[in-house]
């Protein structure tokens, strides 16, 4: 199979994720979109590893997974706490940290 297809898929997934982050208000959905972007990047890494014939890309993909897991732990905790105190998971409601 042509590796370019994987790259196209990766780009598509990344774009969907990015658009989701910018457009959606629900924090959980935004979060899932971030995960989508990370995984799109992982797909690109693995594809390039396959294309170049070394393992560097695959190693980075593992690192990304670890970082994504940590991020989920911290991020979900924050979202839950905010939801408990404000009764809302909208990212637009949590706008106190400003000028």
């Amino acid at each position: 199979m042509n590796p370019n297809n994987y790259l196209v898929l990766s780009a598509l997934l990344f774009s969907i994720g990015a658009i989701g982050v910018v457009l959606r208000r629900n924090a959980i959905v935004v979060f899932m979109c971030v995960e989508l972007m990370l995984n799109a990047a992982n797909l690109a890494f693995v594809t390039f590893a396959r294309l170049l014939g070394n393992l560097d890309g695959q190693v980075v993909a593992f690192f990304t997974m670890v970082v994504a897991a940590c991020e989920v732990v911290v991020g979900l905790a924050i979202i839950v706490t905010i939801f408990r105190s404000r009764r809302s998971a909208s990212v637009d409601d949590a706008n106190l940290l400003k000028y």
């Binding site: 910018v22 457009l23 935004v30 990212v91 949590a94 706008n95 400003k98 000028y99």
Partner: protein, 638 residues
Amino acid sequence: MEAAHALASGTSSLLVWLVALPALGATILLLAGRRSDKWGHLLATGLSGASFVVGVVELFKMLSRDGESRGVSQHLFTWINAGSFKVEAGLLLDQLSICFVLLITGVGTLIHVYSIAYMEHDHDRRRFFSYLNLFIAAMLLLVLGDSFLNLYVGWEGVGLASYLLIGFWNQKPAYATAAKKAFIVNRIGDMGLSFAIMIAFTAFGTVSFQGVANHAGPEHKQVMTWMGLALLLAAAGKSAQFPLQSWLGDAMAGPTPVSALIHAATMVTAGVYLITRSNFVFDSAPTAQLMVVIVGVVTLLFGALIGTAKDDIKKALAASTMSQIGYMVLAAGLGPAGYAFAIMHLLTHGFFKASMFLGAGSVMHGMNDEVDMRKFGRLRVAMPITYLTFGLGYLAIIGVPPFSGFFSKDKIIEAAFNAGGARGWIIGLAALLGAAITAFYMTRVMVMTFFGQKRWADDVHPHESPKLMTAPIIILSIGSIAAGALFAFGSSLQLWLEPVVARGFVEGEPALQPIVVSIMALVAVALGVALAYVKYVRVPVEAVAPTNVSIWTRFARRDLLQDAFNEAVFMRPGQYLTRALSFFDRKVVDGAVNGTGALFGGLSVRVRRVQTGYVRTYALLILVGAALVLAAMLAARI
């Protein structure tokens, strides 16, 4: 060559005690504070007297040596040692300084004694005596210093003491202002002295009298002229000479003994000492000498004119002091022909003016501190001793033979005529005119205070002062009778000072015979007295100063507009300048600094609006940014 002459040929270890004793007194009294209230005045008087005794001992030691080897010095320590520049702290006692030492400690001690009684009811009497001792110490340092820099220390010391004593009753704002005025005007003069020291250092690399004297001569005429002018400025400040004369009248705010000691007998004559001591400078600089003469003549007439219009007895005496010092400066400006006469008049003036000031203090003591002569009159009955001693001082100052002022002033007028040519005639006639005006205003003071009808209020009970006050006055008035004849007889003072101030000077043919000058002076005095007689004895003196007077009287009452002039020419423009500078500082300098701050402050108010708090905005911006970076990298690749 006279410059090769050494100022001091021997040493003496006693000199330091002259200065140290009164300095010790001042230190003890200031440190011990109220604990010494009971005995402080006695200690101060005793130490001042002890200093006088040391002075007398030195005089006798000096008399036992002959003319050229009479000067002695004492090396104290090396004060400044910076490479090639070296200043030794040393004292020099020669024929000139011994006159001053005896005048300062002698008159000073008498005035200490007088002050014991005069200041008896002042609860700050101890502080007063500590300042008096400080003054004596500083003044002795001034006349004993062997270099311009050592003299400068004493010069500043007497300025400080004068400031402290004029403002002694500084609870009255007017008195505190008078003290400040004296200090500030003196500062201008002090600047002159520091310029002179700098010139001496730059030109000759030394500041000692001996070092500068070694360079005296026509080859350094220009340097000497500048130095002479700077010294003249210094002398004008300290001696209340034109154009720095305005402080002396206000200085009368101090207690009367202070006026007698500092502002009549000693400190104000420091300028004359400075000129005489720097004779080697002025003898090599005819232009500076001419300026000295001009300043002297202007001041002697200026002071005399002010004296004619003053109703305040102390201010009238102050104006007369100014005028008499004008005579001394005039004489000092005449060069070797006049130095000795300047010193002679200085010494006799020290006696008679101090005795008159103490007399004025005695009058005030008996009159509830009244100073307005229009409220006196007929005091000769109530205060016979004060009347007699003041009368002797009066006869001395107007120059009636055989009192001391006659000899000294006559010599100055004579020397002025002998200055030669038109210049001699002008200054001679000015000096004669001054003598006539002196006779007029002193007669006026005498008549208004002691003669005529009584004009004081009913609750005032004039009485003679205690013996502690009259005794010093009596001693001083003996001086005002005898001193002149003593100094003038056989030209004794002239010969005494000759090794210091007039080495190798030969008197020329006099323009006028001495007897002619004496007769002219006596005629001038008689005219002055007669005019005063017509104006103040034939017509009763009014108890309130008349207001419908001529413009000239008003002019003189306002001190010939000296204060108005200073205010208009120096004070106001100075104020405007400082205001303009302060405006510049506030608006331009501060404006630039504050403006920069305000610019960034204002900018930040706008820029921080970017921080909306919406996470999605940030995410979009990051995305756009990342896209732009990526695009740029790709563009660079292609």
